[in-house]
């Protein structure tokens, strides 16, 4: 096999792994959009917030320490304990559920029946508010997140591929873990929405509000549930991205990468979010590999958006989205 082809295969594999992480963020968007018609701009910030909260809880950081110190003149920063990762993840999930409830109670509940653009604006406000709260709560310095996930070169793959091709593939363990976790997450979400009472109610609300009310479903409860599930997905995405590149405010920008993913996959499709993520991941890596050197590199910054634009022109509903047919 030629060297070029072997490189290309490695690039594709790495692209797939990167795509999984994009898909994780995109999933959160799709969930909320399907169930409530809201495009949640704050999804990326929710991932950031979840990651920061997780680090903070694990390190025993005192929330709002700066604020408390400024008011009472103390110098507290830490409780002086460390909490094991699993417990901290559960506690963080609790915080995300609380956040979901607060979002519904104080924001979305008052905007029921408003235009989508107004709901969208509300989530932009929410994004900046949440970013501010995260800063206030946990501070703005870059933190490392280590919940015990394996990282670094996967030696087994390196050895095996070296044995076959005479060239060892570089695949990060973390990416493999991310892929497995993403697969589990999707399976769990599908099982939840297909086979549980709450999942059925969630699908019902997504489909028709009036009908849902008439069979005794509380819209308020379902929306809190949906935001909680989105919070859970954000937490998973936050853990993955945070472990990979440190917990920092630029994490919230990964939400922007989810946009082309959604345009490709369609805003209403869970498989679409996955496939879209993979296509973008592979596409941008391959493009950089093949065309990058000719145009001076750094194509990964814009490739996804150009691809999304092309899709918008030829297939605006995305690969898996529902086609909107207006009857006249």
């Amino acid at each position: 096999m030629s060297d070029q082809l072997i490189f290309a295969i490695e690039v594709i594999l790495n692209g797939l792994m990167a795509g999984v992480l994009y898909a994780l963020v995109a999933l959160g968007f799709v969930l909320i959009y399907k169930a409530s018609g809201i495009f949640n701009y704050a999804q990326g910030v929710m991932a950031l917030f979840a990651a920061m909260t997780l680090v903070g809880i694990m390190n025993g950081q005192v929330p709002f320490a700066h604020l408390i110190n400024a008011i009472f003149g103390g110098h507290i920063t830490h409780f002086g304990w460390n909490i094991p990762a699993l417990l901290a993840i559960i506690l963080t999930m609790g915080v995300m559920v609380l956040l979901a409830w607060a979002v519904q109670q104080f924001v979305m509940r008052h905007l029921v029946g408003q235009e989508p653009i107004i709901l969208f604006m509300a989530t932009i406000g929410l994004a900046y508010f949440l970013e501010g709260v995260a800063d206030l709560m946990w501070g703005s310095e870059i933190k490392t997140l280590d919940v015990g996930l394996p990282q670094g070169l996967n030696v087994w793959i390196d050895d095996t591929t070296y044995g076959i091709f005479g060239y060892g593939f570089f695949i990060d363990n973390l990416d493999i873990v991310a892929t497995v976790i993403a697969a589990l997450l999707v399976a769990a979400l599908v099982a939840f929405s297909q086979y549980t009472k709450q999942g059925r109610a969630m699908r019902a609300v997504a489909d028709d509000h009036q009908a849902a009310l008439s069979v005794g479903i509380s819209l308020n409860f379902i929306w809190v549930l949906v935001w909680s599930v989105a919070g859970f997905v954000a937490l998973v995405a936050g853990i993955m991205w945070g472990t990979k590149s440190g917990v920092q405010f630029s994490l919230s920008l990964i939400a922007l990468k989810a946009l082309p993913v959604l345009m490709l996959g369609g805003f209403t499709s869970i498989p679409g979010a996955i496939v879209g993520g993979l296509i973008i991941g592979v596409g941008e890596k391959l493009f950089e590999f093949a065309i990058g050197p000719m145009v001076g590199g750094a194509t990964e910054n814009w490739f996804a958006y150009v691809l999304a634009l092309i899709f918008l022109v030829f297939r605006p509903q995305g690969l898996f989205g529902e086609k909107i047919i207006e009857r006249v």
Partner: protein, 272 residues
């Protein structure tokens, strides 16, 4: 012929029980528009009660008051002997009042079976965790609910479309699926908003038969709104007639048919 507390016996010999739902002096306004003006009537156990009237008479508003979609400014709603506080529609549904909609409100993306299953949501009590593990209680519950749903699907003769997504069904069948979903809740009171609107003669006959059968087989108390006079008179035990938000008649189909005010307002010369 009506006894205030004991109920009565219909012409075809069915026993009608006590009052299930009582509307007392209901007034509903939208801004300056009075949709319902000081209306009182009751619905008794086991009967088929119709609300009729010309377009814009306030029939649908009345049904929406009963099902909690509208909250009246004045008046009281009594259900099973106690006064109902202002409730949200889903709370009303959980009390055992199921309904269908004039314009059909189904979950278009789901199969017929899933749609009807949503009618059973309030009978599913198993927690998320036990559902996740799919053990014991949750499994038993699912089986029980499936059985109840299959019975209704059989009863309404929609077995052949069980797995079909609702969006693909013709109008008449959609109406029937909606009825099935409402029935799946085993309601104490079933509200039908124009169950035969937009149907052809054959579909109307089918639907009439199903409504009578439901009432007969399950003893379901039914309140319905309908435009088609012939159908209403054949189906219902007692009829409330509304016009411009006011009640102008209340009684058996025969009584209503001979009520001069009703004839003037609605039936007119067309029926004589």
């Amino acid at each position: 012929m009506l006894d205030a507390s004991e109920g009565y016996t219909t012409a075809d010999g069915r026993k009608i029980g006590g009052v299930v739902m009582e509307m007392k002096n209901i007034t509903l306004r939208f801004g300056g528009v009075v949709a319902i003006k000081d209306i009182s009537f009751d619905i008794r156990e086991g009967e088929i009660r119709a609300i009729i009237g010309p377009n814009g008479a306030g029939k649908s508003s009345m049904l929406n008051v009963i099902s909690g979609f509208y909250v009246p400014q004045e008046g009281e709603v009594w259900f099973h002997g106690s006064r109902r506080p202002a409730m949200r529609p889903y709370e009303v549904a959980r009390q055992g009042i199921a309904r269908t909609f004039q314009n059909i409100a189904l979950f278009e993306g789901m199969s017929v079976l899933d749609n009807v299953m949503t009618g059973r949501l309030n009978y599913m009590k198993a927690g998320l965790l036990s559902q996740a593990l799919w053990r014991g209680k949750a499994e038993r519950e699912e089986t029980e609910n499936r059985e109840a749903v299959e019975k209704i699907i059989d009863f309404l003769e929609i077995q052949h479309i069980r797995k079909t997504p609702v969006a693909r069904l013709p109008y008449g069948l959609k109406k029937r699926v909606e009825l099935a979903r409402a029935l799946a809740a085993e309601p104490k009171l079933l509200l039908l908003d124009e169950p035969m609107a937009g149907m052809n003669v054959e579909e109307k006959e089918d639907m009439s038969r199903f409504i009578l059968d439901v009432n007969d087989e399950f003893g379901t108390t039914i309140a319905l709104i309908e435009h088609d006079m012939g159908v209403v008179m054949d189906l219902s035990d007692r009829v409330v007639v509304m016009d411009y938000g006011k009640k102008i008649g209340d009684g058996t189909p025969d009584e209503v048919r001979n009520n001069q005010e009703v004839i003037d307002a609605y039936l007119g010369v067309a029926h004589d």
